[in-house]
């Protein structure tokens, strides 16, 4: 067992942390609202690897494994950086896996000015994929239509106003779509993409939770009422201690899910589901407690904690009702249920 990061991973984390701290402070997050995209930030993140960082080097990518990517999305979530890096990573890995049919699109992601790409989480129905993350900014969208894995490209529609101020939108899969894979291979590729999405989103939520916790702790140390820092009140300290425990758990669970996928453990799909659900819940709890610790100020748009509170919930809903997510996890753990 080794829970430490290796030196390369430490460097990776340090680079992304420094980048986001400098390039994506809360002011940048706020000014990208409500559409949730900062094109200039996107063009600059390419210097650190961009969406193809998790694509094999032989395919022009950075060769990073899922553990590396989850370390990056932890930083992404910690900063709420308004860029579709997570979505791009998932799309790039799918495109790299399909081989020839995805080569052209993949080249647009490995370029120094990478295109915005994403994967539709729910299957395409009647030519439409609904509520696609980054769907309001992506030029390339991978989706599952029946038993075909397809690629749509084209001008994105305007994103829909939403709780998380993220660039979510419906996307059409019309005549100009490319089939990337078919049959069981297509289904498997999409399932893998979904599990990678779950795992990376778990990392992002764990990072979000850690920052929210930090905001809460910092405020609890600074803010005085009745002559003492409010962090010395047991009812405040207790909630923060619970959150700290859950955030540490969520972080490790996301990393474990990534590790399990990297080393092909058979329980990797189950861990992806667990990590996603637990991190989503934890991020909500962390930002909820941090919000409450801030008192009335937490709700004002001038304070940062509300940015985290809204996104924690919105991100956890992208795959639908988390209670249905528990049923999906049960299907992995126990086999499909006859009564669902």
């Amino acid at each position: 067992m080794d829970l430490d990061l290796n030196p390369q991973q430490q460097d990776l984390v340090a680079a992304f942390r420094a980048f986001f701290l400098k390039e994506s402070p809360p002011s940048v997050v706020r000014s990208a609202e409500p559409h949730g995209f900062d094109p200039s930030l996107w063009s600059r993140v390419a210097q650190l690897g961009g969406p193809a960082i998790g694509v094999p080097e032989g395919s022009g990518g950075g060769g990073a494994g899922l553990v590396d990517l989850v370390l990056i999305t932890e930083q992404l979530g910690a900063s709420l950086a308004p860029i579709p890096l997570l979505e791009g990573m998932i799309a790039a890995r799918v495109l790299a896996r399909v081989g020839d049919s995805g080569r052209e699109a993949l080249e647009r992601l490995t370029s120094s000015a990478p295109a915005v790409a994403t994967v539709a989480l729910t299957p395409v129905r009647d030519g439409q994929a609904r509520m696609v993350p980054a769907g309001g900014i992506a030029e390339l969208v991978v989706g599952l239509d029946g038993s075909d894995l397809v690629l749509a490209s084209g001008e994105p529609p305007v994103g829909r106003r939403n709780l998380g101020d993220s660039p979510v939108a419906d996307r059409s899969f019309g005549a100009d779509r490319t089939v990337l894979a078919s049959g069981s291979a297509a289904l498997e590729l999409h399932a893998t993409a979904l599990n990678e999405w779950r795992t990376l989103t778990a990392g992002a939520q764990a990072g979000l939770g850690a920052t929210a916790l930090g905001l809460g702790v910092e405020y609890a140390k600074q803010r005085k009422q009745f002559g003492v820092p409010i962090g010395s009140f047991q009812s405040i300290a207790r909630d923060l201690a619970d959150v700290a425990t859950a955030v540490d758990g969520a972080t490790m669970l996301a990393r474990e899910a990534a590790w399990a996928a990297d080393v092909c453990q058979t329980d990797a799909p189950a861990l992806a589901g667990m990590a996603f659900l637990f991190a989503g819940r934890t991020a909500q709890k962390a930002s909820g407690v941090a919000l409450h610790v801030h008192g009335g100020y937490g709700f004002t748009l001038e304070y940062d904690v509300q940015l985290y509170y809204r996104r924690a919930k919105a991100w956890s809903l992208a795959l639908g009702d988390p209670r249905r997510g528990l049923q999906a996890l049960a299907d992995v753990l126990f086999g499909p249920g006859a009564r669902t």
């Binding site: 989480l121 729910t122 129905r125 609904r130 509520m131 829909r160 106003r161 939403n162 709780l163 998380g164 979510v168 005085k224 009422q225 009745f226 003492v228 010395s232 009140f233 047991q234 009812s235 405040i236 909500q284 909820g288 919000l291 409450h292 008192g295 009335g296 100020y297 937490g298 709700f299 004002t300 748009l301 001038e302 509300q306 509170y309 809204r310 919930k313 919105a314 956890s316 809903l317 992208a318 795959l319 639908g320 009702d321 988390p322 209670r323 249905r324």
Partner: protein
Amino acid sequence: MDFSLGDRCEELRTEVREFLAEHLPQETIDRVHETGTAHDWTFYRALGARGWIGAAWPKEFGGQDRDPFEMTALRDELRLAGAPTDGLGQSLIVARTIRHVGTEDQKQEFLPPALAGEIIFALGYSEPDSGSDVAAAKTRATRDGDDWVINGQKMFTTLAHEAAFVFLLARTNPEVAKHKGLTMFLVPLDSPGVEMHPVHTMGGERTNATFYNDVRVPDRYRVGSVDGGWDVMTVALTFERGGFGLSDADRVWQQAVAWAKTTLGDDGTPIIDDPLVRERLASMRINNEVAKLLAYRTSFVAARGGLPTVEGSMHKLWYSESMTADAGELLDMLGAKGVLRRGDGDAPADGWIEHLYRHAAVTTIYGGTSEVQRGIIAERGLGLPRPGR
């Protein structure tokens, strides 16, 4: 034992619904939602003209002498319709306080226009450094002849941009214990030296930060005795916590049920048939019923002439905490589309659930945080010893 509000209340409900059908057009609801200012003068004056601002007041003040149960019914209907009630709520707190501790002159000057819906009041308690610890207010009022000169800053002065006066807590004696050097004033918001900046919130509400630079207020606008402000505040805070009826939670629950009954899910069956939807709606219904009973009890104690301090805290704690939790559950139940905001045609229940999620958590803060309410319940209700902190 009787849990019904009674026939008079049912008649009043009908009247209120008719009134709302006439005086609360959808445009008003939409404008309130867009501006975040939960007050509308046209609506408010109509409410005043109908005599309902002062519905609970004795006839001598131009009121209708309605009992707390009728008031509960009235407020329920306003809330269920989504009527803007911030101006009403704040003004009644101040008006009732004036009635209890104000001078005759103050009663004559402020109460008639307040009950007629011509003016509203803002509340000026919180400051940047004093929230739950409201008695730590630093805003100074110093005597100068017949006037007081006020300097300081208040936070969360909701509706200051619409109100005629702010009911202001100021320090008049910094030499004594913090609770003993405070005085309350009614400060005209058009006074020279008053400035305000809008403060926008996650829930879409607008509130204000207000600044006071050498603002002169005549002594006749002092409410209660000099350095007696804490007692006045205590009266006012009790009014703030008591007398809630049905809340936004009921409105949104009804909106959610109506939406679930009339909308088909992705699988083509009515959304109300989904067990996960049914469970959440049933569960929230229980919490709302409990909130209603705790509210009714508060009204009942008040109607019997009691001061429902613990009862009011229990209601406030329950409704705000359960509404916050239920808003999260309801949003989960909507799945991916749940995040869509009001204005998007696909937003489930017209986006009211998403809005409740952003709004609900603030109710665990204002009017006394949940921690403050729990402290009141623990100490005054259960007789537990006061904590070191």
